[in-house]
Symmetry: C2
Subunit: 329 residues, 2 copies
């Protein structure tokens, strides 16, 4: 377990004071996404708790973004993509791509695997903080934030649009190769105009506390019972995590696959988000093969909430089988 | 829409006064089923809201009972049953069979389709009332209760063990052939000793207000936009319901199939609960075939929560495809 450095908490300033404003902003966004019927509240809060051995994990839902199928997948014709959507009983024009992070309670610490998109995303997102609180958690009590990669829907929750640090007492751990790529001004200058925003967002999130961000080499332990696993391709340093306790194991896939209905079912398909399509495909195949053989429980960042289940081989691809929801944790 | 008769509300007596006692009993049971970790509450409340056209429906989870696989299915060998459990990543000794009812808000009325097992079931059940309240509902505001069949996990929620009516202002509608069968003293006398309890439970639930229970012939409309559909076999008068609004439709399957991992996947398998196995099998095949062709959204009483999705043909059976969870109602 790395040493916790809380100095950046001071730099983060008045985050605790700003908390009510955060909650209000989130509630407004939640309301936009899910208007409550007159008879009662809208949807149940988007959290789901389960055990991995002695470790308790909680999936926290942020919301979804609507992704048009046209232009979604680089190497498949639109009718094939629409057929995959149809087979999953999803709409065939645009599909809701859900966003769900994982909270890990381990070794007396509260650890976040990714943070959602914060308050800088589409109106259908931005519910993470409300759901995190509904699950009984307090952002000020977060000890450690571990990031899989630097895409906006994973890191933006660290800092509100107005600059406030949401987790004033948390250390931040990031994959070293992600930091090296995204924080390089040379890389940013080389990037096409459309990709520039992603680089700028990394600076928005990390620059105020750059000296305190801990960079780890994938393979390192990042928390008690949490091991990082190189899963490059989706982004240069994209990293998965294994949470293990006794004989129990959960593999946090991050974006090794985007929505399972497309990329678990057809592991050779490449989402436009995969920065190195060939490497991402090889990583995806390798990890899905291993998970299917070992019947490993998986968390997919972009699977339907509560975003966990198993994969089974099926033809040239895999089927995603959601774990059965249980009222008992 | 049938006329609402509230006279039995008077017979039900002091149910409103007894409400806090009900809540306490339920909370205690919920606690037994799902102990809360120190960090916060346990599981998110078990309700899930969605739209069927202009109608809002809410799935309400009651809990689950653990069913040993041995002796579960009449016409399949244990290894085949275990293989089906394995394919669904369920345990292969006993599987949790979930219980989830449906609340329908239609035509200004609050209508329940079945009521769960109340406080007379196993400790892993009995969460229905807490989840119903968490969804913003009040038992005293229920206008109508519509019952699919008279098995205990569908009707027992109407009345607490101590005799209290839980829904003091609700009319009760039941399939006429269910009433004729279960309320017949002759049938009860003929029943084997092990089946006698089910007959007695029907008397416990219904006798105090027998004159006010409205019996309908399957095929009848039982609420605004809710049509009953004969689905005999699981029990003599087992009835499904179609909820429809505009072009949208939801088919409430009740127990036409028990857990989909077994009986949607293998529609010819007969659960020990199916009272007329051949008729139940024919009904199941017919309804699943229709639902697959028409891509009808389905609610299964015993599917994993939130218990709704679709079926697609697959070999000699069907695959159950859960509808994607959405934070937006």
């Amino acid at each position: 377990m790395p040493t916790i450095n809380r100095r950046h908490a001071l730099a983060a300033g008045a985050a605790a004071i700003a908390a009510p404003a955060i909650a209000t902003a989130t509630a407004v966004q939640a309301q936009t996404a899910a208007p409550a019927p007159a008879a009662g509240p809208g949807q149940a809060p988007g959290f789901y708790r389960y055990k991995v051995g002695d470790i308790t994990v909680t999936a926290i839902h942020d919301g979804f973004f609507n992704r048009p199928l046209e232009g979604f997948i680089r190497n498949a014709e639109l009718p094939a993509v629409q057929a995959a959507a149809s087979a999953a009983f999803l709409p065939t024009t645009a599909v809701p791509i859900p966003i769900t992070t994982l909270v890990v309670e381990t070794g007396g610490k509260l650890v976040l695997l990714d943070t959602g998109i914060g308050n800088v995303g589409a109106p259908t997102t931005g519910n993470w903080l409300a759901n995190f609180r509904a699950a009984g958690f307090d952002p000020a009590r977060v000890d450690s934030i571990v990031i899989s990669h630097f895409h906006g829907d994973h890191i933006s929750g660290i800092r509100l649009r107005d600059g406030t640090a949401v987790f004033p007492n948390a250390e931040i751990q990031v994959p070293a190769p992600e930091w090296a790529f995204w924080m390089s001004d040379e890389r940013m200058a080389q990037a096409p105009e459309a990709a520039r925003g992603a680089f700028q967002n990394c600076r928005r999130v990390f620059s105020p506390l750059a000296a305190q961000v801990k960079r780890f080499e994938p393979g390192a332990e990042v928390g008690s019972g949490i091991t990082s696993v190189a899963a490059y391709g989706h982004s240069p340093g994209h990293t998965a995590f294994v949470v293990s306790s006794g004989n129990a194991k959960l593999l946090y896939m991050a974006d090794t696959s985007n929505h399972p209905a497309f990329f678990v079912r057809n592991p050779d398909w490449s989402a436009v988000f995969d920065m190195d399509a060939d490497m991402a495909r090889a990583t995806r195949r390798r990890m899905l093969d291993m998970a299917a053989s070992e019947k490993t429980r998986l968390h997919f960042y972009h699977a339907p909430f509560p975003s966990n289940g198993y994969v089974a081989k099926d033809g040239n691809g895999f089927q995603f089988v959601p774990a059965q929801w249980s009222p008992a944790v």
